[in-house]
Symmetry: C2
Subunit: 255 residues, 2 copies
């Protein structure tokens, strides 16, 4: 594990939420990230890592929306980093979504160390953020669907700082299916697993197989009709509540 | 539809909840029921019908607990009636759970009008309760798992006063499977469908087939590990919230 510092790139503040862009040294070079915290707040707080989907980035709409809600509703910190060949890791800044999707798909098949390297990037992100005065080494949650699960499941399986996870839109399938099945068995924290009933990218039966394999007894599956990318707003609300209940179980519910 | 009245049998009050036992004329004779309302409250309010499971009754623990929560948390009314060969419809008052289960299973196979007659009993229950000053003809929700779905799905399909339903622990299976599939297609209201991943009575695939058949686009499936009767407390909380959100969408959430 390196001891290199986190470098701040920029910051801004909006309606009580501080958003800071940072860069850390990842397994294959600089890793760009964003961290959201309550503006002006001091002291430790739970941290939620948000893994974006293929063709997205740390700055895509639902990532930022969830991060801001975790900060505003619960006083948590949230962080996202760009995945391999996505966002600011690309020369084009991720402006051509289809190209990132294509390149990720190719690497998933042909670059078996990509997953381990992303796990390293995530773990270093936790290390660096846990050293900040306004986050600290408290409980960590993980939220990632689709590519967020492909690259996040191995993290959740490997790092026991992560005490709760939202996973889904993925199955025991694809180039790394044997590893997916093995990592699933190693997951020990509470999991909410999200399925789209009519997922055109990952067969329902493969998703059920992944849920089945999850080693934790504290798991539940939520399925909604519609294609891969159509997770309904109600379900996103449920994922927020699930994280909050486990990361701050003694807090009063938001009104 | 008869015009016979509802007959009050007894009443009691506990911690702000009025519980009244009643009897109405059902398709095959007297139908015993319980209705819960906020003590001393006047005016109309949403009504939730709760269908108990095989071997249970209108007075079993989780039925009463849900009814009281709907009253205390949301100001709703709730009602339960004994199903065929259950509870106070039996000479033994339902004291021998296994016998009620056995007889229900036999009738499910050999008494095809049992379901229609129970639908009549439920519909008359709505008629009678809607005439009460402290309930009125407002929106109705239905909650019933397992036998509660076997006998409640046809009601939800047939009666458009029901605007939201919690169903599950059942599948397209059993003696009435063709009817189950047909009724499912006629369901038009929002549905939360509950599955136990390791259900030993109804195969997971049959439950998925029933969810698939539900005609409403506004449906979601929640699955939890464990056997048929082990729906976790979290999920019961979710069913309460689901009903409340649809029956009183403008209410502030309870603190």
């Amino acid at each position: 594990m390196t001891t290199a510092a986190l470098r701040w790139v920029s910051s801004r503040e909006s309606r009580g939420v501080s958003e800071r862009q940072f860069e850390i040294d990842g397994a294959r070079g600089p890793v760009p990230g964003l961290v959201w915290t309550p503006a002006g707040a001091a002291g430790g707080r739970p941290l939620v890592l948000i893994g974006h989907g293929a063709s997205g980035s740390k700055r895509e709409g639902h990532v930022v929306a969830l991060a801001r809600r975790l900060v505003r509703h619960h006083g948590f910190a949230a962080a996202a980093i760009d995945g391999p060949v996505h966002g600011d890791r690309r020369q084009d800044g991720g402006s051509v979504a289809g190209l990132a999707f294509l390149e990720f798909s190719q690497r998933w098949a042909g670059d078996p160390e990509m997953t381990d390297d992303m796990v390293t990037d995530w773990r270093r992100t936790i290390d660096r953020l846990a050293a900040l005065d306004d986050i600290g080494a408290g409980p960590v949650g993980f939220w990632g669907l689709s590519m967020g699960t492909i690259l996040g499941l191995p993290l959740v399986a490997a790092d026991d700082r992560i005490v709760v996870a939202v996973l889904g839109l993925m199955g025991v399938t694809g180039p790394t299916s044997a590893r997916v099945a093995a990592d699933a068995a190693d997951v020990a924290c509470p999991v909410l697993f999200v399925v789209q009933w009519d997922d055109e990218l990952f067969e329902r039966s493969a998703a059920f197989a992944l849920f089945d394999r999850l080693g934790t007894p504290d798991k539940r599956l939520h399925a909604n009709p519609g294609p891969h990318s159509a997770v309904p707003p109600d379900e996103l609300d449920a994922t927020e509540a699930f994280l909050a209940d486990r990361l701050a179980p003694d807090a009063a519910p938001p009104v």
